[in-house]
């Protein structure tokens, strides 16, 4: 669930935060902000009721003339798979079962992730991660009230028990996530990435973003989500590609 909800930057239920502190005395506690965000999204019970989720949309890098489709599936307890098909390029796939994580695309070939890339992927795979329980959140801090995407926002730092650190921005008025900043790890090295979210719409009991812009290295890619479907993902959706199976001893 975290994969999709973090992708959507939905900061979910703030249940029993292990350590929620405020960097400044006059700022709201991170735990309070996260709880309000979860409530605004639709509530913890709505999240807990979901066993799997499928997200579909389109992908575009307009300046570079690239476009395609995207599908993300995720299921309890910690499975995810992302498939992006880009015209003239091929299919980029990645996934995790909560223990191993992998990627498969035409330019890199089949690979098992290692190091921090593996840590981040496994962290993202945790379906209940957005609940931000003590098994997942090591520390959450309200850093400042600032502006993000031209809106007043609370800036939070969230460090997970997996060692993954993300800076989140919550809308100061609605508490819905406006975006995040993170240093993404890849075999090429660390790449600072900014994600901006918007156009929230109701899908089932949950309010979900339908617009996402990710920026890195001066490039931007736009994702337009067209559907969120709950409890429709078959187990076969997570079957490993043959090339990845062969890598696992």
């Amino acid at each position: 669930m975290r994969k999709i909800l973090r992708l959507a930057s939905v900061v979910a239920v703030a249940l029993v935060m292990s350590r929620m502190v405020s960097a400044q005395g006059d700022l709201p506690k991170a735990s309070d902000l996260l709880a309000k965000s979860v409530a605004a999204m639709g509530g913890a019970d709505a999240v807990k009721a979901i066993k799997s989720i499928r997200v579909r949309g389109t992908f575009e890098m307009p300046a570079q003339g690239a476009s395609g489709t995207i599908e993300i599936v995720q299921a309890r307890p910690a499975q995810f798979r992302t498939t992006i098909s880009i015209q003239g390029f091929g299919t980029i796939e990645s996934g995790s079962d909560g223990k191993i994580a992998w990627s498969l695309d035409p330019v890199t070939g089949p690979a098992l992730l290692v190091g921090k890339a593996l840590t981040d992927a496994v962290s993202d795979a945790q379906f209940d991660a957005p609940l931000y329980g003590p098994e997942f959140v090591k520390e959450a801090t309200t850093l400042a009230k600032t502006t993000f995407a031209d809106k007043a926002a609370y800036k939070l730092k969230v460090v997970t028990t997996f060692g993954s650190e993300t800076t989140m921005y919550l809308d100061a008025a609605t508490y819905m996530p406006l975006g995040s900043e993170k240093v993404e790890e890849s075999p090429m090295g660390a790449m600072p990435t900014t994600t901006t979210l918007g156009d929230y719409k109701k899908f089932g009991a949950l309010l979900q973003p339908t617009s996402m812009v990710q920026s890195a290295m001066g490039f931007s890619q736009n994702v337009r989500i067209t559907s969120y479907e709950y409890d429709v993902v078959p187990a076969s959706a997570f079957e490993l590609p043959a090339a990845i199976k062969a890598l696992i001893k």
Partner: protein, 427 residues
């Protein structure tokens, strides 16, 4: 998702060296300012190597403002980009090139490769796929004219521009007949009616690049000592080469040696060098690094290929590997050859490559033109920059008309001989 971002962002880098064409449609100062700003924000070296980018703008902007035609305005932009003295800066006009001589009138061609050497246009290879259509054309011949137009290098014309002009003349619509005048080694001149045929390969349209035929070839050779060698060649680094190259590697997995013939390969998607190198390296070595304005260092790390797409466990090829390049090998090809050369994994043959090895991207501009612009440099694991210098072969084979006319491929021969001398061990 993050993987998609990092993979795809990296993948749009280091596009092939594109031809810079004088532009056509009206753009004016808006185009000049847009291009200046893109370069100002993205050039990998914030010091511009000592060049004052602001001074360049101040110097040329009045000229752009005074441009009376669309092409004049674009010519100023081209002049501005030239001040950088770096590869991978090009402006592609939305309406095509105003320079008719450089325009490919169709994708069909006469089925021959040429190089510019010694002031002549030399046929270096004739495609067997051309069949009877190329009958009469042969390596070693010098092209005198095509369709009545002289192909001779012009005073002051760079060899690359000469090649592009000749290449354009060889192209045309499928079924059209090129009247090619050639001079044989014996000095005799022949006029050959050569039908243009569609090239082999998958037609690919990716990013802002024009449609490209992607073609992978494999050939089996024997060394003088009887060793088996697989030769793999591809014309561009696009995602579509992944599967056929894997099949070729598979076919030659038990061979005594491999040769990557990358002569004339202008580059493509930068990240692909990690994957293809993974077929011949068993460790995740770093082939090189690039710096960008936003990220101080990104590594080109080999992904050792230990499985096939159909699910078989394999090991990367461990025998001797040669790479052949020439003066038309550029960009990703140079990163691949130079990176592996400095890792000590390959021996490079042929002729010094183009020396245009800057990772780049493209961007469609407001007026519809496409700007290719370098956003990073590339240095090998030994800290060697390939920009300008190119990849210098370990064993060079100057172009020999006599050898070509005799049906010899000196670079292949040298690589085969080296494989005979080598022990089939990795690193």
């Amino acid at each position: 998702m993050k993987l998609a971002l990092t993979t795809f962002v990296a993948s749009v880098l280091a596009l092939a060296t594109l031809s810079a064409h004088p532009p056509q449609s009206s753009v004016g100062l808006a185009l000049f300012d847009e291009v200046w700003s893109i370069v100002n924000d993205s050039y990998y070296d914030p010091t511009f190597g000592g060049l004052s980018w602001t001074a360049v703008r101040d110097d040329l902007r009045p000229k752009a403002a005074a441009a009376r035609t669309e092409d004049d305005a674009r010519a100023v932009v081209v002049e501005m980009l030239a001040r950088l003295k770096r590869s991978h800066f090009a402006l592609l006009a939305s309406g095509g090139s105003a320079d008719d001589e450089m325009v490919l009138k169709g994708e069909a061609n006469v089925g021959a490769d040429v190089r510019v050497a010694g002031g002549e246009i030399v046929v270096t290879h004739v495609s067997p796929l051309g069949g009877s259509s190329t009958k009469g054309l042969a390596p070693g011949q010098r092209i005198v004219s095509i369709d009545g137009r002289s192909m001779a290098p012009r005073p002051g014309e760079l060899p690359l521009m000469t090649w592009r002009r000749v290449n354009a003349a060889m192209h045309g619509w499928t079924g059209s007949i090129a009247s090619v005048v050639v001079r044989n080694v014996d000095g005799n001149t022949l006029t050959l009616p050569v039908p243009r045929v569609a090239p082999a390969g998958e037609l690919v349209q990716f990013s802002n690049l024009p449609p490209i035929r992607v073609n992978v070839e494999q050939r089996a050779f024997k060394t003088p000592a009887g060793r088996s060698v697989g030769v793999i060649g591809f014309n561009i680094w696009m995602a579509q080469i992944a599967a056929p190259v894997e099949r070729a590697i598979d076919a030659f997995r038990s061979a005594d040696g491999l040769i990557f013939d990358l002569r004339g390969n202008p580059g493509g998607l930068a990240l692909m060098i990690n994957s293809i190198a993974g077929h011949i390296l068993d460790t995740p070595d770093t082939m090189g690094t690039m710096r960008t304005r936003q990220v101080p260092q990104l590594k080109f790390v080999v992904n050792p290929r230990r499985s096939t797409m159909d699910g078989r466990s394999v090991s990367p090829f461990a025998g001797p590997v040669a790479v052949i390049v020439d003066e038309l090998s550029a960009s990703a090809t140079e990163c691949f050859a130079g990176g592996l050369q400095d890792l000590g994994r390959v021996r490079v043959f042929g002729r010094t490559s183009m020396g245009q090895a800057l990772p780049a991207s493209t961007k469609r501009l407001a007026n519809g033109d496409v700007l290719e612009y370098a956003i990073g440099d590339f240095v090998t694991s030994k800290g060697r920059s390939l920009e300008g210098a190119g990849v210098v072969p370990d064993e060079a084979q100057p172009l020999s008309i006599a050898a070509l006319a005799a049906g010899r491929d000196q670079s292949i021969e040298a690589a085969l001989a080296w494989i005979d001398r080598s022990r089939p061990t990795i690193k």
